[in-house]
């Protein structure tokens, strides 16, 4: 009983503290031009109620977290049903087949608008998977990822504008250019660790945007480039609906391609080197892994996908300007990776769909989108650092012993 009273008291205090904290920003609004002060007392009530309830939830979650940690420490942790199901190979293949069929009939079942939304979600899937290589596998925090996306988009827009190059020619070119930029950025920062890396990549992302905005002779400045060609199909003329469906299928193919490549990469020699580098850099180098090459390849391959999907983005929207490549985009892609589960392919895909489709279909809440993203990033780190679906590492088990004991 005293415990409950104590908790109640604590929650009251927390709620009072938040009322104090949010008072000037949530309650008062000043209009200096007309000398009016607007008092929004209702907000204060909401803050008090909300923080009171949330403080209970917070304590409960922290307690649960602690309990789980204890279980994990004792080594008796049970694997959840979802993980067990996902580790089952036959189930995985069947699920994939069903999803692929669903994905293929999607544009035929729904209208153009739905397809367009789906395309943008798929673009973020590929971006998330690309960043997943750099952040999730190699553990190099990249806050300027959108710069590579911009490189791809602008390379198609400019090559198309000046030289009339087609979509299919530029698609690999965009990827390679993205790669090159990844290496260019990678070289100077090879020596830096975690947090410095984050800030330099952030700076790099901003430099690219500033250059695109100001170097008007090259990039046409803030007004951007319009009338970019849509992807062609043997010279067939397509209307908007037709080409949307076409782009949708290209995107599906790209997603499948990305998934296959990243899956193979993760279990390859270089993928293991990335994971080792993420876990412990010093031990990894001591084991004879070339740090420079491993890090550079993580950057280059991560950037490759961004460059490629950038080309597609330009072809889809037919108009690009620097405003599409802000830090917020980088933050969204990063939160896709973090929320989905760093290193986990399925998690990242799920994360992209949730983060992109949810605000799209819940228009009423779309203002609160970034607020929710920010909060979700913090909460995820505290309560579920492994993400929605944690990375499943390939395991090799010795099965012989099991049989022997069965017989004996």
């Amino acid at each position: 009983m005293t415990d409950m009273l104590k908790e109640f008291k604590q929650s009251i205090l927390i709620s009072l503290w938040f009322v104090f904290l949010t008072f000037p920003l949530m309650v008062v609004r000043v209009n200096t031009t007309e000398s009016l002060v607007e008092w929004r007392w209702m907000n204060m009530v909401w803050v008090a109620l909300g923080s009171f309830i949330l403080s209970y939830l917070w304590r409960y979650m922290l307690a649960r977290q602690q309990a789980r940690k204890k279980v994990a420490d004792s080594g008796l942790e049970k694997q959840s049903k979802v993980t067990l199901l996902l580790e089952d190979a036959t189930f995985r293949y069947r699920a994939m087949a069903v999803l692929l069929v669903l994905a293929l009939i999607f544009p035929l079942a729904f209208d153009t608008y739905q397809s367009t939304i789906m395309i943008s979600a798929l673009i973020y899937v590929v971006l998330g998977l690309g960043l997943n290589i750099t952040v999730g596998l190699a553990g190099l925090l990249d806050l300027g990822y959108v710069a590579f996306f911009a490189v791809g988009a602008y390379s198609y827009a400019l090559l198309n504008h000046h030289f009339d190059l087609g979509f299919w020619t530029v698609l690999p070119l965009g990827g390679i250019l993205g790669c090159l930029f990844g290496i260019i950025l990678g070289f100077p920062i090879l020596r830096l660790r975690g947090d410095y890396l984050a800030i330099v990549t952030l700076g790099f992302g901003m430099i690219v945007k500033i250059v695109l905005e100001n170097w008007s002779d090259f990039s046409f400045g803030p007004s951007g480039i319009a009338q970019i060609d849509r992807p062609g199909l043997f010279g067939i003329d397509m209307d908007l609906a037709g080409s949307t469906i076409y782009i949708y299928y290209i995107m599906i193919a790209m997603v499948v391609f990305t998934i296959l490549v990243t899956m193979r990469l993760r279990n390859s020699r270089i993928g293991r080197a990335w994971i080792a580098l993420r876990e412990d850099e010093i031990a990894c180098v001591a084991m004879g892994i070339d740090m420079a090459r491993t890090k550079l390849s993580a950057y280059a391959l991560g950037a490759f996908w961004a460059g490629m999907v950038g080309v597609l983005f330009a072809a889809k929207t037919t108009f690009i300007n620097p405003a599409s490549f802000t830090f917020m985009e980088s933050a969204i892609i990063l939160s896709i990776v973090v929320l989905g589960g760093m290193g986990s392919i399925l998690g990242v895909i799920l994360g992209a769909f949730i983060l992109i489709l949810l605000p799209e279909y819940m228009r009423a809440f779309s203002e609160y989108r970034m607020l929710a993203f920010g909060a979700a990033m913090v909460l995820m780190m505290i309560f579920r650092p492994q993400g929605i679906i944690s990375n499943i590492r390939q395991k090799y088990e010795y099965k012989g012993l099991q049989k022997e004991t069965d017989n004996g």
Binding site: T32, V37, P188, M206, I210, L334, S335, M377, P385
Partner: protein, 300 residues
């Protein structure tokens, strides 16, 4: 020559603001090796609170310097409170987690606070009243340096001296230095490490708020996004000087301020930010420990 002096003083003013914000980064980094990404947002909240308080005060009939003082005090109190809460919610539960986790949490917090202010107040730029009066004795040199610049320089200078005294001479400062050198050892000799970390956040946030009020009344407008760029720049300054080092943060701020000012004045003002980040990359390649930082040997 006048142009040169003007740029020099402009850089000095700008640099001293960067230094004020950079101190918060450096102090936090020195103790828990975390880039407090949301520090720029604390600065922005400081400026916003000052704007709101100043607005309310003016409407209810206060005038002159009293408004400035009330607004500044409110900004400092609120920014400190936000810094304290921020540490408790977003960083304390993550102590001992892998290094990437608190960093991502910090980025999340930064996005959250930006959008919180955006939704609670306004997405537009708000005009900030010029709270700093024009001094008469500044008239003869007004074409080179204005009164606001003078106030900024003096405030920064005084704040730095107070901070140095706090860290070098008081018991709290000693505890902070001890925690910075070795957290576990400090705990063993009876330093309340949690409280020292909270205090570091509070002091850093207060400095950022002072910077926020000064900048806002100098530039004359505020919106929810100002903290982001200022934060990145201040972090650049902190790295430039050697992160973890307090004189380094000041030096880094000034160097960054001058670089931007001269580059904007003599080369092109469009690429001002590019020069700042270019300088950061250059320093990190040539001297990763920063200008005044000690390079730490990594031991296994």
């Amino acid at each position: 020559m006048d142009y040169f002096i003007e740029l020099f003083l402009g850089g000095l003013t700008r640099g001293s603001i960067y230094a004020l914000i950079a101190l918060g980064y450096t102090m936090v980094y020195g103790i828990i090796q975390l880039i407090n990404f949301a520090h720029g947002e604390i600065y922005m909240i400081g400026a916003f609170v000052a704007l709101i308080v100043a607005g309310v005060c003016t409407i209810y009939g206060f005038t002159g310097v009293s408004v400035l003082i009330i607004a500044a005090v409110a900004a400092v109190i609120y920014a400190s409170a936000y810094g304290y809460t921020l540490e408790k919610i977003a960083y304390r539960p993550l102590r001992g987690a892998p290094r990437l986790s608190p960093l991502i949490s910090a980025i999340g917090m930064s996005i959250f606070l930006q959008n919180y202010v955006l939704l609670a107040q306004t997405p537009d730029f708000l005009p900030f009243p010029s709270l700093i009066p024009d001094f008469e004795f500044m008239e003869p040199v007004a074409h080179i340096i204005g009164s606001p610049e003078l106030v900024i320089l003096i405030t920064t200078f005084v704040t730095m001296i107070l901070l140095t005294l706090l860290i070098k001479k008081t018991k709290v400062g000693k505890a902070m230095r001890a925690t910075q050198q070795d957290m576990n050892m400090a705990r063993l000799v009876g330093v309340n490490v949690d409280r020292v970390i909270s205090l570091t956040f509070v002091i850093g946030s207060a400095l950022a708020a002072i910077g926020g009020v000064l900048v806002a009344s100098y530039i004359g407008q505020v919106n929810f996004y100002i903290g982001f760029l200022a934060g990145v720049k201040a972090f650049t300054a902190a790295v430039l000087g050697g992160i973890g080092s307090i004189p380094g943060a000041v030096l880094g701020g000034l160097v960054l301020g001058w670089t931007e000012s001269f580059a904007a004045g003599y080369i092109s003002s469009d690429y001002e930010d590019v020069f700042a980040f270019g300088l950061l990359v250059l320093i990190l390649i040539l001297r990763p420990a920063g200008l005044l930082g000690k390079s730490r040997k990594q031991k296994v």
